[in-house]
């Protein structure tokens, strides 16, 4: 059963990685604006050339 030691070590390490990722995102300002990106993703990119018909 000594594998438990190894597994727990792995799980704690993995959890620490996620905690670190969260801290990194927080520091990077990814949680500053939680609304605008949800709108921005729905806006289309402009077609390269302007539409000749119209």
């Amino acid at each position: 059963m000594s594998i438990i030691y190894f597994l727990i070590g792995c799980s704690v390490l993995l959890a620490l990685v996620f905690l670190g990722a969260f801290f990194w995102a927080q520091r990077n300002g990814q949680h500053d604006d939680l609304y605008t990106p949800s709108v921005r993703i729905l806006l289309d990119d402009e077609p390269e050339e302007t539409d000749p018909k119209k």
Binding site: Y5, S11, L19, T36, V39
Partner: protein
């Protein structure tokens, strides 16, 4: 289909306003004004017509006075506004109140297409901010702002950059603390499960290992996440105040010490799970309590109302200077719709100053040359020249901010329920803890210590500390849905304790600048001209309104003129005898009874009755419900305006509770007087003249028609549309307080149950680990459910 076509024809393609009779067309599209058409043509030239594809009529009407941004050429002003600048690029953040839809985001983030010198723009929709990065060499700040203004997104530039200040306040790492506590809580729970289920005898080494790990996870919780509680408990203790943080900090400390001892001496599993859970839930409660309104500011003062810069006249030339650099004796130029920034003497021009925001006076005031014009007025009409007589900070209006109401620290005006209770709670807790210690002490020392610590652990007021934040934040979001924005959660409690309500008049119960004059006269043009000439001579607000209504006549010479204050005017123009005034003043005919809601001005020429002007103030819809409050609350009207509406308002306020012509300072003193008589006063106002009273009162509510506009510093901001819901808001705040009381009783019950285990000294970690989250869960679900039910009952959701 047809309906849609008609719609298209009558509403502006850009802003969706109804087009008046004269509309402007371009590319088969209809516009209500030149401003809207210009925005469209700029966008179409730059291939940005997708703007109109995302939303129908995404624009904002451009029918407004042109703004001048000349001051943005001054280096000293520029350096205050920008975030960062070097030779290559400059970063600047603007607050743009007109941001309201996805088209706005799209257009503002494509500014690069209109002018390639703008590298990129980033919109923060909730904060209504746009962050712009542009080429320092190719474009100036002045041009960037000009471009924004041209496409209909005029940035609001103010001296007091409230938005940036708000961002600074928020850095106390609460989110990080929650993350750490949550991380440790999850891991500790995982490692504690074997203990709950029982570990077999030949797996004892695991028990040891899990114990050590648990203890390790407790360390960051204790030394990082819970530091706030220890600090707060310590400062409160130094000030000889027992607040809820003291038993919390004590509980956390005891939990840790006992866990550490049990694990180190191998006598038990400790309470690591309870400790981490406690800190995690408490931090979440704190987070919930902190509500931020990105687009609102409750801390505004006169600086955000005043312009950034003024046009200074020096040696016949004009140049903009920052407001703070203005000195006594300098000459300034104020144009139409600009605000006079300091007390000054009128030197040149026809000054018609709108003081409605400053004094509450509803009609623009004419000033003669040489007269002192007080700061805060808005000039309407031609440009005027003034000489500054007092610096900005010492002017009549701004000196209000030197009052102690503004300088003393903003403490909670009334003690909240949890503050009052936690004192007794802490004392009772300590008595029980020491009591159980001394009962066991003569027989069994270890058991006495264990009982003592167990009491402190189990009675740790976690649920109690959470009941107020969760209830109040639920209440806050319900108010929020009804356009009533409270500064923080303690305001809800203050709302429930109010017994006196003081209201301002102009802009608060009336809608400012919205007075309807209707004429019921039969007069020829020359007679109208005579009436105009008489009224133009008078400074009485009603005369002014009539003049505005009659508009462009040439003023006739008046031979004799006599004004009876409060009654009317008699005058002689070219041999004609004219009387203008109240019905009693013109006694030539019998008049039918007039309604109280209207003010009427009657006219007679040469003893012949001509007719009357009816002047109706537009009161807000809410005036009826304000009236209904008079049964439970004492209502006062406190206005800076003249008393000519006293009659009309007597249906809402009793005669002796209406006060007119009050200066800002007198308003503040009036509130103070009421408070000294033991009243809890709520002040509702809108203008700068109410700022002192709002600050002094127990609960200051700023009322506004557009929450993005300027509103004076206050505890709450109420949208004008929701004034009618005020009685419901007050009732609901009492409901919310009742929910807090009940949830307090529930959490106390949990504590009593837990204590019965604890005093015996036989607290198993499992019971603590179950009881703590269970009570927390009960409180959170009870408070949010009960608050929402109460809101449903009051029809607020």
């Amino acid at each position: 289909m047809k309906q849609a076509e008609i719609d298209q024809q009558t509403t502006c393609y850009h802003c969706g306003n109804d087009c008046a009779d004269e509309h402007i067309e371009q590319d088969e599209k209809v516009f209500c004004c030149n401003g809207c058409r210009e925005v469209y043509s700029i966008l179409s030239q730059n291939g940005l017509c997708s703007y109109y594809a995302y939303n129908e009529h995404p624009g904002v009407s451009q029918e407004k006075a042109a703004k001048r941004f000349n001051y943005l050429k001054e280096p000293s002003i520029i350096s205050e506004l920008i975030d960062y600048s070097d030779e290559k690029f400059t970063i600047v953040t603007f607050y743009i109140p007109d941001i309201h839809c996805s088209s706005c985001i799209w257009l503002l983030e494509h500014l690069n297409k209109i002018n390639p010198a703008i590298y990129n723009t980033r919109v923060d929709f909730l904060r209504k901010q746009v962050n712009i990065r542009y080429d320092t060499q190719l474009i100036t700040l002045y041009e960037v702002v000009g471009l924004l203004d041209k496409i209909g997104y005029e940035p609001l530039i103010s001296l007091q950059d409230v938005v940036k200040k708000q961002a600074l306040d928020k850095k106390d790492n609460l989110v990080k603390k929650i993350a750490v506590a949550g991380f440790c809580f999850g891991n500790v729970m995982l490692l504690s499960f074997p203990e709950y289920l029982g570990i077999s005898v030949y797996e004892q080494s695991f028990r040891q290992f899990f114990g050590w790990l648990n203890l390790a996870f407790c360390l960051p919780v204790l030394f990082y996440s819970s530091t706030g509680y220890f600090k707060s408990a310590w400062t409160n203790l130094k000030n000889k105040v027992l607040n809820i943080d003291f038993p919390l900090a004590l509980g956390i400390a005891v939990l840790f010490v006992r866990t550490a001892i049990e694990i180190l001496t191998r006598t038990g599993p400790g309470f690591a799970d309870t400790l981490c859970g406690l800190v995690f839930f408490l931090s979440v409660g704190k987070f919930v309590q902190r509500k931020t309104y990105y687009h609102l500011s409750f801390e505004r003062d006169y600086r955000s109302f005043f312009p950034v810069a003024v046009q200074l006249i020096e040696d016949e030339t004009e140049r903009p200077v920052p407001l703070s650099d203005i000195q006594v004796g300098q000459r300034i130029m104020i144009r139409n719709n600009e605000i006079i920034p300091a007390d000054a003497i009128l030197l040149k021009g026809d000054a018609r100053v709108d003081f409605s925001f400053v004094t509450g006076e509803s009609v623009p005031v004419n000033k003669i040359l040489g007269e002192v014009v007080y700061a805060g007025g808005r000039q309407t009409g031609e440009a005027i020249e003034l000489e500054v007589v007092k610096p900005v900070s010492q002017s009549y209006l701004t000196s209000l901010w030197n009052n102690e109401a503004f300088t003393r620290p903003q403490e909670n005006k009334t003690k909240t329920f949890s503050e009052k209770v936690s004192k007794y709670f802490t004392i009772a807790l300590l008595i029980i803890a020491f009591g159980s210690f001394f009962i066991w002490f003569p027989f069994d020392l270890p058991r006495a210590i264990s009982a003592f610590t167990a009491v402190l652990i189990i009675a740790c007021p976690c649920a109690l500390a959470l009941s107020t934040p969760f209830t109040m934040s639920a209440a806050l979001s319900i108010f929020d849905k009804n356009f009533f924005y409270l500064k923080n959660t303690t305001v809800v409690e203050q709302l429930a304790h109010i017994d006196t309500i003081v209201l301002d008049k102009t802009g608060t119960i009336t809608i400012s600048g919205d007075t309807a004059v209707s004429a019921y006269i039969t007069a020829t043009d020359t007679e109208k001209q005579m009436i105009y000439s008489v009224c133009a001579n008078s400074t009485h607000p009603l005369s002014r309104l009539i003049c505005q209504y009659l508009n462009n006549y040439i003023k006739l010479n008046i031979n004799s003129y006599y004004e009876v204050p409060g009654r009317g005017i008699t005058a002689d123009i070219g041999g004609h005898f004219i009387k203008v005034g109240s019905a009693k003043f013109i006694d030539t005919i019998q008049l039918e009874a007039t309604s109280a809601q209207k003010t009427e001005v009657h006219i007679s020429i040469d003893e012949k009755y001509i007719g009357y002007f009816s002047i109706q103030q537009h009161y807000r819809d809410g005036i009826k419900s304000v009236q209904s409050l008079s049964s439970g609350y004492r209502l006062y009207l406190l206005s800076g305006d003249h008393g000519h509406e006293r009659e009309a308002l007597s249906s809402v306020f009793s005669m002796e509770d209406m006060y007119f012509e009050r200066t800002p300072q007198e308003k503040l003193d009036f509130i103070k007087q009421l408070q000294q008589n033991g009243h809890k006063v709520m002040m509702i106002g809108d203008g700068l003249n109410d700022a002192g009273a709002l600050k002094q009162s127990d609960l200051g509510i700023a009322i506004t028609d557009n929450v993005n506009n300027f509103s004076p510093g206050s505890d709450a901001i109420l949208d004008g549309r929701s004034l009618k819901k005020l009685p419901i808001f007050l009732k609901f705040s009492k409901d919310a307080l009742r929910v807090v009381y009940i949830s307090f009783c529930i959490s106390l019950t949990y504590n009593v149950v837990g204590l019965s285990y604890a005093v015996s000294g036989k607290l198993s970690p499992l019971i603590a680990a179950i009881l703590m989250p269970l009570s927390t869960f009960t409180i959170i679900s009870f408070t949010s459910l009960a608050t929402h039910l109460a809101a449903k009952k009051r029809k607020l959701i």
